[in-house]
Subunit: 233 residues, 2 copies
DNA sequence: AACGCTATTATGTCTAGACATAATGAGTCA
DNA sequence: TGACTCATTATGTCTAGACATAATAGCGTT
């Protein structure tokens, strides 16, 4: 006997993907409605709905009420970029993680930060500089500002053993984050810390996080040359 | 009267998000089961299921059969990175798009490419070099190799008017893609094309695509300094 | 203590039917 | 011609109930 499992939304999804890939339904074409597909596959409409909705979410098709579903003309494919803790990222590579706090100070929020996070002129922030190492080699230089108005507990934390990243994860959740990635040349300090030549190309990731519109933290993470951020669809 | 719409899975999702953010359910805690939540919100279990499943997908909670659902300890949050066409990206900024093909040649696949795409020694590829401009300023230098075995039609295409990116989108769909981002120093050629100083830090994105395990293309996209890739959660 | 079986449990998914909602197009009226 | 109204249509979402499946805990056996 064949394994006659019933058709699942996953089966339908991959069959639809296949038809699109084979250009049975070329870009721009309207695909059959949910009712029709449900009849074809012998399933309930809800099952087809889930399959097609996932395709829409991944950008392969576009749906509009009344008009129907069409194969995306310019598939704005979405890659999922997972953002783990540095420690986890290093450990996942099989390397030994080490952390060192370079400096810690409570300061008035610098102008650029006030502008970015929309902080009042009086705002106090905790400024931290840290280094994350993988197998004793510099992996990431982290420069962080924590909004003490939003996270007052941070004032009493030394961040000598545990990094601010990890501490915040457990103590200050966020509801919204904004990421930016770019290339830059290493400044004198960064170069020294990352043990590279000044002016070398470094990979910079910046992140701002909010909890319900209240700014939590801004962090700048600098990786030495050779660092690659990888993802797939 | 209040607008007594019935509670939707979105309402539930955001209420759960709120509770997690407020640490009513701290990281690591198990949240009530679907039955319980369904009873609390006065909805069917399927509705709760959809809400919680979306939270799980975004990495805020972790679900396991029998054990239940718990708030993620180290939320491996996933950012969605949308990958539009260069042209669309430039037009979205309100800039005028221009394209220029720099070179085109059918060549034997170079070693690095054979290794990356697992091509046979005899493989022929189409090598293209192009420039994309935003408001007349260099925006992206694109160097691309197309596997002629997988996309024979490309041999007859000049790519003088339409960029290979756009052409491929309409002519060679892909089912899997791999992205990598890194910082690098501009080589002499790149620097000249992007009108920057040699050795400047450039942002490099690389992409490989396959259709059902058949390699389609490898592309290297180089952006001048100042380019930022942005996303949010 | 170690192993393997079984019952239990929470999530995963499907069905059939219903109503909601956005978008479209046709028909109506000024 | 143009503005408005209304019916139509495809997708969006919910319900109630059912069965599937993975993971666990507990039990009994060796």
């Amino acid at each position: 006997m064949t394994t006659d499992r019933r058709t699942t939304f996953r089966d339908i999804k991959s069959e639809l993907e296949r038809r699109i890939a084979r250009r049975q339904w070329p870009p721009g074409a309207t695909i059959p409605g949910e009712e029709a597909l449900a009849a074809e596959f012998g399933v309930a409409r809800a099952t087809v709905n889930r399959a097609v909705q996932e395709l829409a979410r991944s950008g392969l098709v576009e749906r509009k009420r009344k008009s129907g579903t069409r194969v995306a003309l310019y598939p704005v494919r979405e890659a999922r970029l997972s953002i783990p803790l540095v420690r986890k990222e290093i450990e996942a590579k099989g390397a030994v993680y080490a952390y060192s706090r370079l400096s810690r100070a409570v300061v008035a929020a610098p102008d650029f930060l006030r502008a970015r996070l929309a902080l009042p002129a009086s705002a106090k922030v905790l400024h931290l500089r840290c280094l994350h190492l993988a197998d004793r080699a510099p992996f990431q230089f982290e420069e962080r500002w924590i909004n003490l108005d939003a996270v007052p507990e941070a004032r009493h934390e030394a961040f000598e053993e545990i990094g601010p990243n990890e501490w915040l994860v457990e103590n200050a959740p966020f509801s919204r984050a904004e990421f930016a990635f770019r290339a830059a040349r290493a400044g004198r300090d960064e170069a020294a810390l990352l043990q590279v030549v000044e002016g070398e190309a470094v990979f910079v990731a910046e992140r701002m996080t909010w909890l319900a519109d209240k700014p939590i933290t801004f962090v700048r993470m600098v990786h030495p040359p050779g660092h690659r951020m990888v993802t797939e669809i």
